[in-house]
């Protein structure tokens, strides 16, 4: 099959593979520790680890956009900030 119309590039493929691996990782985590680990964090409503991954990914996207809009095109610091943010979400939300 010819997928050239999808215009794949190495960075975008790496991006989607990372997302896919995260989902697989969440599946494995759920297998060994079922129930989603629900808890009430600083947002004061119950979240499961799936919710926390979603909040992390969505927040990371906005961190990158904000960095791009306010600071500049070098996104490595934005990526570092997004990782810190995601750790914070998994720890406190």
């Amino acid at each position: 099959m010819d997928f050239s119309w999808m215009a794949w590039t190495l960075p975008t493929a790496a991006f989607f593979i990372t997302i896919f691996l995260m989902l697989v990782g969440m599946g494995v985590w759920e297998y060994f520790s079922p129930g989603g680990n629900p808890r009430v964090g600083i947002l004061r409503f119950e979240t499961t680890r799936g919710d926390r991954l979603f909040v992390s990914l969505l927040g990371s996207a906005f961190i990158h956009l904000a960095w791009l809009g306010l600071i500049g095109p070098n996104l490595w610091w934005a990526l570092a900030l997004a990782v810190v943010y995601a750790i914070g979400v998994f720890r406190f939300v």
Partner: protein, 288 residues
């Protein structure tokens, strides 16, 4: 009775997964791929990195369309929600009037969006349209083709005409689910009409109202067909909402890279707002 755990049920989900993959995941992946490249057609692409995103985030055109979209959604919600509640409160609860009202309310929802646009496009014309001709005959300087204010009024009135009945039907469903005992107790206590609304009807409608707000916000934020048919985004860019601008960019100008970047930013905003509404709705249930 003990639950039976059977993972074979996952196979039942497979058709949906395939459908979602073809209708959403693969197109979304393609849009992401396009957003970091430039193309002049012929399946030839050139790496552009985050350039299109940067261009979009610094684009006055994008933020102007976003602003118009937010103002439009705010106006739509501030009209349709109170009006929908008001109509639902005044609809009959029993007798022959119920089916008549329900059918009348459902009618605008059954009309395809492009037909709604065409109806209002003709309706508002000052030469042959009933609304435009009448307003003109009465001395109003109404012309949605030339005047941005008139274009906005026409698009808003059209959306109110088309979608208020959805809010009405949702609120009505909430109202008819209130047991008579609540009203009898209120009557015994001598509660005023306002008190009945404030302490019985409104709390009972809260859940359906949240759904109505969510649906109307998302739909008005993503509006395309009706304003496109009526005004084409004009006069000038006065009714060019995000989706109209997106189509102009992607199809009209063939700027697929910037259009893809704009789509992703648009998608992320919609996703964020959906999550906020979903969280509010689900946590409201938990608190209850």
């Amino acid at each position: 009775m003990e639950k039976t755990w059977n993972n074979k049920a996952w196979f039942m989900v497979l058709p949906v997964l395939v459908l979602v993959a073809f209708s959403a995941v693969i197109p979304l992946m393609t849009v992401v791929n396009y957003s970091v490249q430039d193309t002049f057609g012929g399946n030839q692409f050139f790496w552009a990195g985050a350039e299109w995103f940067e261009e979009m985030l610094h684009s006055d055109r994008f933020w102007a369309a976003m602003g118009r979209n937010l103002i439009f959604s705010a106006i739509i919600l501030s009209i349709q929600i109170p009006l929908g509640i008001f109509i639902a409160l005044n609809m009959p609860r029993k007798g022959w009037g119920v089916p008549v009202c329900l059918v009348l309310m459902a009618l605008p929802l059954l009309i395809p969006w492009n037909v709604v646009g065409t109806i209002w496009q003709v309706f508002g014309r000052i030469d042959i349209g009933l609304l435009g001709y009448t307003l003109h005959a009465l001395g109003f300087d109404y012309n949605y083709v030339n005047d941005p204010f008139d274009a906005w009024v026409t698009v808003i009135v059209m959306d109110v005409w088309h979608w208020t009945s959805l809010v009405v039907l949702l609120c009505y469903a909430g109202l008819v689910s209130i047991p008579d005992a609540f009203y009898q107790a209120a009557k015994i206590d001598g509660a005023s009409r306002w008190a009945v609304f404030r302490y019985i009807q409104l709390p009972k409608m809260q859940r359906v109202l949240l759904i109505a707000v969510l649906l109307r916000f998302m739909d008005s934020f993503m509006i395309y067909t009706e304003p496109f048919v009526v005004t084409g985004g004009g006069p000038g860019n006065s009714t060019t909402f995000l989706s109209i601008d997106l189509v102009k960019m992607a199809v009209g100008q063939f700027d697929l890279g910037p259009a893809a970047a704009m789509s992703i930013i648009y998608f992320l905003i919609v996703l964020l707002l959906s999550w906020v509404f979903y969280t509010v709705m689900t946590n409201y249930d938990v608190e209850k």
